[in-house]
Symmetry: C2
Subunit: 443 residues, 2 copies
């Protein structure tokens, strides 16, 4: 699409471009604008349908939004902000540099500014920070007809109109209803008789990931957010839940590969920022593996006497690391998706021990057997075989216990992933290896 | 919740239990039923509100569904299936063992059986396999009033009523409209004038992950699925997209930890199945690291002359592996989320080289410096420092190039993750290490 737009621009076919943009989807236009330079951006944005411009603006990348705010006149900023949903406006304010925040806020109505501040006051990653304060509110004495009139009148400005909340004068949440339910009822029916009173709610301070998982479980289109006094303060919509789920799993992928999580796209994040995200864990893990080196040094006599032992070090370290990573990945994910909780620790451990014995026995037979045959040395094969079995049990034990302990200690289990587990297992597996070797081989 | 239910059961307070279940949410009840034994299940399920029973059944785990089908009479099965959405019914058929499939199908109406087969014929993981064939279809000559009447009449049986599709006699897709848009229009207005003609569609054979990502991008509640002749065959709803996104990222986590992906929950999957998912990659990687062992053997003279060199092997292997995993994780995820594509390979590589130089230099200064001081041996410190820099560049290069190459070759980049990269980097980093050592130290 961006090629087509650039071609229209090059040929100055603005009328055709306008018609083309008019037919295109907002999300596609936003994606295309991200790839234009400052000058092109200014032209294209002004050709957009005024009603769609705010929606397209809300869908642009953070830095394209920033570039747009720089270009636009005060009047244009004001028009866009007034049409933006308040949660999108709050996101914008959060990402902009200070000088542009000023430009945006001075072009925002007092009412909207108040709503934006309402959202900004909640901690990052809380339900409050991703909610919108625009929703359909009904009175319990309304009729179905009142409800439809209300939705028709105010609906265009709300992010979702399909779920409506029934509140009292103090904004306490009394019930919930949906347009689908309302459509099945008589116009004269009272909302009180239609509404569902057992409302599933989230609290403003709930973690956004927990909120997103509730959408997955309950298949709702929106969830009401209440404060500590059961007053409705906003709603979270399913599209926000989708964003949160993607964002949180990206974060976990990065943490599990020993990186500080970042929110930027790979190509957009600078080399320096990527360096900073990666170096801390690399240093920590590098310095930790000095311990493993010390262990090797202390068995210098063993490998001086039987030099071939050294050549098995990488195989034992790698296999131990892989066994541990498999277990820790399974457990970290099972904790993240609430399939297991810390109280399951012994059940999980017992399971991993049995898996480790099967895995270890298979590896021992294959590799121990190979070594016994290749070197015509049954003792050496036995040393490797036993080491693999002990290492598998140890690696899978650490791999399942450490994430659960982290969770219990309110740390993020995702950090107990492959890199950390591998470093620990390395040291232990070499101790096992050299001790088995010393016990079975006459050195 | 399950404790409360069990207590009611124990005290035989069935009336109270029925009232309790009546007030509870369907998803919560389904979760609770998963934890009951066969006998409890039979009692509780029969206490459920008949209208909600099918919905609760659809939300239960695969194996609870299986246990239910075993318990229920033909008549009960028939009643549930008739109320289930056709995509949920198709999922059920897919997961049940053959004897129970027969029981279900003989209690399913011919019409529904036809619809189920329509879905089952599409390949697993395709848009066709996750769609439902129940949606609101309108004629372009309908008025807004006709549309509402249609929704009111048929809506209860449709998974979503908020998006309606306008089709011609041959089921070609002409346009789309939403209840929100319809509510803003006059009753007498023709659908033709309200509908959006530029419809974003997916094809039956499109990958489910790509479809799920479209929901994230466009914020739709439903997407129409068309066949190769632009005929509407079904719709995918946003709740399915949420399921697919979770499922696909779990799969990637498992693949990236060198496991065959599984769909079962951790605690429910047998030890034997877990063993099978894990052992293949462990064997492959273990046998690959024999190469690394061979490399070490070939430098036997070097570490016989300078035994301290051996003690650096774990540190170099681990650091190389971690550097490589960081890069590969970033790239695998960036490929999965379409932030980069194979054509970006040189841009990405150049970026990783610069990051690697910064990272390598830092590691070299810290650890090379430490070694130079500790052993009072500048040459040894230099060997370690240079090895770390070269290893970082090599590891990050492999970590970014291999996943991109895999994608280019239509393989799954997720397998080019930590375990695979670590095994490759191990061998290379040791070659670097011993060669730098041989070049700088007089052996």
């Amino acid at each position: 699409m961006v090629e087509t737009v650039k071609e229209y621009l090059l040929n100055k076919q603005y009328k055709e471009l306008k018609a083309f943009l008019n037919d295109a989807n907002e999300a596609d236009i936003a994606e295309c604008l991200n790839d234009l330079d400052q000058e092109e951006l200014a032209i294209v944005f002004r050709l957009l349908n005024k009603d769609e411009a705010a929606d397209i603006f809300a869908r642009m990348d953070d830095d394209t939004q920033e570039r747009m705010v720089e270009i636009l006149s005060d009047k244009e900023v004001s028009s866009i902000i007034s049409k933006m949903y308040v949660d999108d406006a709050a996101d914008l304010i959060e990402e902009l540099p200070a000088n542009l925040v000023t430009k945006v806020l001075k072009n925002t109505s007092i009412e909207k500014r108040k709503q934006i501040n309402e959202i900004l006051k909640y901690p990052e990653d809380s339900a409050g920070s991703i909610m919108t304060t625009e929703y359909i509110a009904l009175d319990e004495d309304d009729t179905v007809k009142d409800a439809f009139d209300n939705i028709r009148k105010t609906g265009l400005k709300k992010e979702t109109v399909y779920t409506a909340y029934i509140i009292d004068k103090q904004r306490h949440l009394l019930g919930v209803t949906t347009v689908k339910d309302l459509m099945m009822e008589d116009y004269s029916c009272s909302i009180k008789n239609v509404m569902e009173e057992n409302v599933i709610t989230v609290n403003t301070t709930d973690d956004q990931e927990a909120v997103a998982k509730m959408f997955d479980k309950y298949d709702f289109l929106a969830l009401p957010v209440i404060d500590s006094e059961n007053r409705l303060v906003g709603i979270v919509t399913v599209d926000d839940a989708l964003d949160v789920l993607s964002e949180e799993s990206e974060e976990d992928f990065e943490k599990m590969a020993a990186m500080a999580p970042s929110e930027d796209e790979y190509l957009k994040e600078s080399v320096w920022d990527q360096y900073k995200n990666r170096i801390v864990w690399l240093l920590v893990l590098m310095l930790s593996s000095i311990v493993t080196g010390k262990i090797i040094s202390s068995y210098e006599n063993a490998f001086a006497a039987v030099p071939i032992l050294v050549s098995f070090i990488p195989m034992i370290m790698d296999t131990g690391g892989n066994c541990g990573s498999q277990a820790s990945t399974m457990i970290i994910r099972a904790l993240a998706t609430d399939e297991i909780s810390p109280k399951d620790i012994f059940k999980v451990w017992w399971k991993e021990i049995r898996i480790a014995l099967l895995v270890g026995a298979t590896l021992a037979i294959v590799n121990g057997g190979r070594i016994a045959l290749q070197y015509n040395n049954i003792v050496l094969g036995t040393v490797i075989g036993l080491t693999l079995i002990f290492t598998a049990v140890l690696a899978k034990s650490l791999g399942c216990i450490l994430p659960i302990l982290a969770k219990q200690l309110k740390l993020d289990p995702a950090y107990m992933a492959s890199p950390m587990i591998t470093t620990m297992v390395d040291a232990c597996s070499l101790v096992i290896f050299f001790n088995v070797a010393l016990a079975l081989i006459n050195i």
